[in-house]
């Protein structure tokens, strides 16, 4: 039996007064934080990759992580669905909570967590299967056999990923025949077929041309109606275009976390300003 994490509705418990908003910036009324990270340290063997990260990710918003290569932003992202555990010798201290429950709580099955927290990778990685089978993979592994449910999921997910019109006549052809941009949208469709709560995107556009990138960014704006999105990007313009909140990482530290607009117009930290204005990195 797979344990599921109950999605507690924090909006009911958290007072949404103006006063609280002042204190708990960047929290918005009716937009509770879905992921909370507290004093989180992360180690690859003995090398520390993240130092005491504390931040809150608001629900149904786009949160971008920016920073130079090796700063720990992808490492943090890959902790949200415990993908880092596939690497030998990793360890952590501190905690990450999803909807109020620690993701390392013994009652949390990692496979259930990964169904709630979907992931789109830097390099699109569709399976060497048909487009249809790629999308329904998460249903297949959950044992769903009803044709109608599978068909419905394929259409819903491909429409959600703005890919349906391009592939509806060749659902049973190999996914490897798609273009780079289409493959990445297929990976998004595959991730949302699960109906996750959170969608992690690790530099989803870094291998795409500007037009394909634009389509993914439009898609991100659509998807945030239904999903909380956390995106790692090297592209500063991308962060300003499609994120609501933004965290700047440097050498394993979270230097600053705020509304994207604030990070890019009036950051508190000098280092953030230097980075977003292109003075280093």
């Amino acid at each position: 039996m797979i344990a599921t994490i109950p999605m507690t509705d924090k909006a009911q418990t958290a007072p949404a007064s103006a006063e609280m908003d002042e204190v708990f910036e960047p929290q918005l009324p009716g937009r509770p934080d879905i992921i909370t990270v507290r004093d989180f340290n992360f180690f690859y063997s003995k090398k520390q990759a993240l130092n005491g990260i504390t931040l809150d990710i608001p629900e149904r918003q786009v949160t971008a992580f920016i920073g130079p290569s090796g700063c720990g932003k992808t490492t943090l992202l890959r902790n949200f669905n415990r993908m880092n555990e596939l690497i030998d010798g990793v360890s952590h201290t501190g905690d990450i909570k999803l909807a109020g429950r620690s993701i390392w709580d013994p009652s949390v099955e990692v496979i259930a967590l990964r169904r709630l927290v979907g992931m789109v990778f830097q390099k699109s990685n569709p399976f060497a299967k048909s487009i249809y089978e790629n999308v329904v993979y998460s249903l297949r592994i959950a044992g769903v056999r009803q044709r109608a449910e599978l068909d419905e999921t394929v259409e819903r997910s491909l429409r959600g990923a703005a890919l349906w019109d391009e592939v509806k006549d060749r659902l049973h052809e190999s996914a490897l025949g798609l273009s780079g941009g289409q493959m990445q949208r297929l990976c998004i469709a595959r991730a949302i077929a699960n109906r996750p709560k959170v969608l992690l995107m690790d530099e989803p556009c870094s291998a795409l041309d500007p037009i394909a990138t634009m389509r993914i960014e439009e898609l991100i704006n659509e998807l945030k109606k239904d999903f909380t999105i956390v995106i790692v990007t090297h592209n500063m313009q991308q962060a300003t275009r499609c994120s609501d909140f933004c965290g700047f990482f440097y050498l394993g530290n979270l230097v600053e976390f705020d509304r994207t607009q604030k990070i890019f117009t009036s950051p508190r930290e000098k280092r953030t300003e230097d980075y977003v204005t292109g003075r280093f990195g």
Partner: protein
Amino acid sequence: MDNPISHAGDFFGDNSPESTKILGRSLLDRALTALCIALSFLALVPLGSILYLVVKNGWPLLDWSVFTQLPPAAGMTGGGFGNAVVGTLAMVGLALAISAPPAVLAAVYICEYHPKSRLSDAVRFTAKLLTGVPSIICGVFAFAAVVLATGKFSALAGAVALAVLMLPTILLTSEQALLGVQKAYREASYGLGATRFQTIFRVVLPDAMPAIMTGIMLAVARAAGETAPLVFTALFSQFWMGSFMEPTASLSVLIYNFSTMPFEHQVKMAWTASLVLVLLVTATNVTAQLVFSKRHV
């Protein structure tokens, strides 16, 4: 010089010492390319001549009757070697059934589950050691393990000998095949909430299957041609195969027996049997490649 392009000679420094060196490098490059091509053709010579001899000498007697008739007695003409074809297919098939599942699953273990464990190191080391064991030793093993235990020569003993021979090849090629599967596929599967078992059986193994099949076909091709492990396990038989528990004919032992006989017809038949063996191995190889490379989609 009135043509402005003639300045190009100066521009490229055609007469400078540097240009002589570049010319030398470029000539060496061409010479080495030519050498590689020449050596590739040289490698084809023995392969080509064997194939030519087998086809030339085996072709005259090749007709349907060799598959339907039993071997002629010494000095007699006519007949065929249908029982040897059946025996080879049955023994190689049984050997494959015995060796392939544990070999592939062991490869899955040492590659996917605990690649750095002592057990995995031991399996890898043993498999590499076994690939170097002479095939006749596999025959000795099967003789002791099956023939002495059951008290008779049998197709089963032959199959066990061939299975021991095939196991390390399949295991090591399967491991390479699994290592060749992109990490991105595994991550995608885990990221969607798949368990390790689901990831292996739905994504990793299907993707590695063509390469695993190549390894299996190499093992089959080698086993089908082996004589030494069969001569004192399956022995030979003049009759059709009735069960796995009786001495059984095989193409390789038939070729060995007939080619040393002083009768012209038997020697010719050995050539024909060689041709049939080559064709059988090629046919299974091509079929397997076709079936398993289309599996993907």
